[in-house]
């Protein structure tokens, strides 16, 4: 296999990695908000449920969560739903791994939503009471105070921890190969097994590095954009 062929073969896998990355970010980031608000709720039962949920999701390895999502429907309810999706999409639309990828996406979105929620909570709780009160004494409503005064300060504070999490996320996508989803490392292992080529496994690092490089630049720009004020 030529270098170009290997590159293209790995790129096929990296597309799956990027898919997991994008869906997790686009769904997990918004989903983290309601979880954060529940964790800060003054209604204790809601707060307790939310905190226990976050504790469990953050306390168990993501790989194990992927196994749980993927296998539990079949083991407990005798309906291996993701295997069904796999077969259905493969035979009808010629799309491979659809069910497995769905399971991975669900596990990733839930897992990352919980991590994001803790970042949001930390950000919101770090804003001083005085900022709220300054808004209230000016006759603003609670929602005006949050949207017009608090939000941007929170965003500024959570950009650095979110950047960390986002960079971890692209590397975490490799975990998908635990249920044989063809992300980039799975592809490289395939080459090792079938073509006795080991170097592509190490070559995958270049893909991650390039992508993390782009992320670092973009996230750095966001941080710079918010650096005009101190809070």
């Amino acid at each position: 296999m030529s270098f170009l062929e290997v590159t293209l073969f790995l790129l096929d896998g990296f597309k799956i990695s990027l898919l997991i990355f994008a869906v997790t970010l686009l769904c997990g980031a918004p989903l983290g908000l309601p979880i954060a608000f529940c964790s800060m709720s003054r209604f204790k039962p809601v707060q307790a449920v939310s905190k226990v949920f976050v504790w469990i999701v953050r306390g168990i390895p993501l790989m194990l969560q992927i196994f749980i999502i993927y296998y539990v429907p079949g083991l407990l309810f005798q309906t291996p739903i993701f295997a069904h999706i796999d077969r259905y999409m493969a035979s009808n639309f010629n799309i491979l791994d659809a069910g497995r990828i769905t399971a991975v996406l669900i596990a990733f979105v839930i897992n990352y939503a919980c991590y994001f929620s803790e970042i949001y909570r930390g950000g919101i709780e770090s804003i001083s009471k005085g900022q709220y009160e300054a808004g209230y004494v000016l006759g603003l409503t609670k929602s005006q105070v949050f949207k017009k005064i608090i939000l941007k300060q929170v965003v500024k504070r959570i950009v650095p921890p979110m950047s960390n999490e986002i960079i971890t996320l692209i590397k975490d996508t490799a975990l998908a190969n635990c249920i044989v989803v063809c992300e980039i490392i799975k592809q490289a292992k395939e080459l090792a097994a079938t073509k006795a080529l080991v170097w592509p496994l190490f070559y995958t690092g270049v893909f991650y590095l390039l992508f993390v490089g782009i992320l670092t630049i973009v996230l750095g720009k966001v941080e710079k954009k918010l650096s005009y004020f101190k809070s």
């Binding site: 001083s128 005085g130 900022q131 009160e133 300054a134 808004g135 209230y136 004494v137 000016l138 006759g139 603003l140 409503t141 609670k142 005006q144 017009k148 005064i149 941007k152 300060q153 500024k156 005009y228 004020f229 101190k230 809070s231």
Partner: protein, 253 residues
């Protein structure tokens, strides 16, 4: 008729009673200074007036209209609370400017959100206020680019933009370096000359004496002494007032 009439305000946090029945009234254009050692309940009193805390007993009336009654059956709605707050302005010890907004935006934000006029009108009012506090060359600066004294002057302009009937100051110079207190006190003095009604909690005794029509000395949640500046500062009747004023002279001198 008094602009402000406060009757028998009581406030507890848990079991500790912080305000034990505060009553006073204020005429239009009067300046009231509140002095007293830390922990005596001065901030809590201002916070009750601005509805950041709710007194457990007592009444607050503005221009003869009862706006708060601790005994009332039903709680105030959010919009009633907001309307009540607008009678008062509050300048905090720690300024609390909005860091992501420029000086101008800090002042126009609330009037804009409250629909207090067209964009141009609001901006024109804001500019004249900034001029009054002497920061016209800083309108596009952000709070982090200003000194503490300048920030506090912006905070005063921000409070004035909503034209409150009574402007409250909670130790407006306590967070400032000594050389910056003068510029803030001067702005407050100018406001007095324009007939603003003000309540100033302060540790600046000289200032309180000069600016006030009325002085309250608070101790342990009660008004220990109330009177004209001369009465309170020159002929204090209460022993507590005497020893407080003596201590002040010692620490300053």
């Amino acid at each position: 008729m008094s602009v402000l009439e406060v009757k028998n305000i009581k406030k507890s946090f848990g079991k500790t009673e912080v305000l034990k029945g505060i009553s006073f009234s204020l005429e239009k254009g009067e300046v009231l200074s509140i002095i007293g050692s830390s922990g005596s309940g001065k901030t809590t009193l201002l916070r009750c007036l601005n509805f950041l805390e709710f007194a457990s007993e007592g009444t607050i009336s503005v221009n003869g209209k009862l706006i708060f009654d601790g005994q009332a059956e039903n709680e105030l709605s959010d919009s009633e609370i907001r309307n009540n707050r607008l009678h008062f302005g509050l300048v905090f010890q720690s300024f609390n400017l909005f860091p992501q907004y420029s000086v101008l935006e800090n002042i126009t934000l609330a009037p804009t959100l409250l629909n207090r006029g067209s964009e141009e009108e609001i901006k024109a009012t804001a500019l004249s206020l900034i001029e009054r506090v002497g920061l016209i060359d800083k309108i596009n600066n952000y709070p982090c680019e200003l000194s503490g004294g300048q920030q506090q002057r912006v905070a005063i302009a921000r409070a004035l933009a909503l034209e409150p009937e009574i402007l409250c100051f909670d130790e407006p110079t306590s967070a400032l370096d000594p050389e910056l207190t003068g510029e803030v006190l001067r702005v407050i003095k100018d406001l007095k000359n324009e007939d603003s009604t003000m309540i100033v909690v302060t540790h600046e005794m000289e200032f309180a004496r000069n600016i006030s029509d009325k002085v309250i000395f608070m101790a342990d949640g009660v008004i220990e002494e109330m009177g004209t500046p001369d009465e309170v500062f020159l002929n204090p009747r209460s022993e507590k007032t005497k020893s407080f004023l003596l201590k002040d002279i010692e620490t300053v001198g």
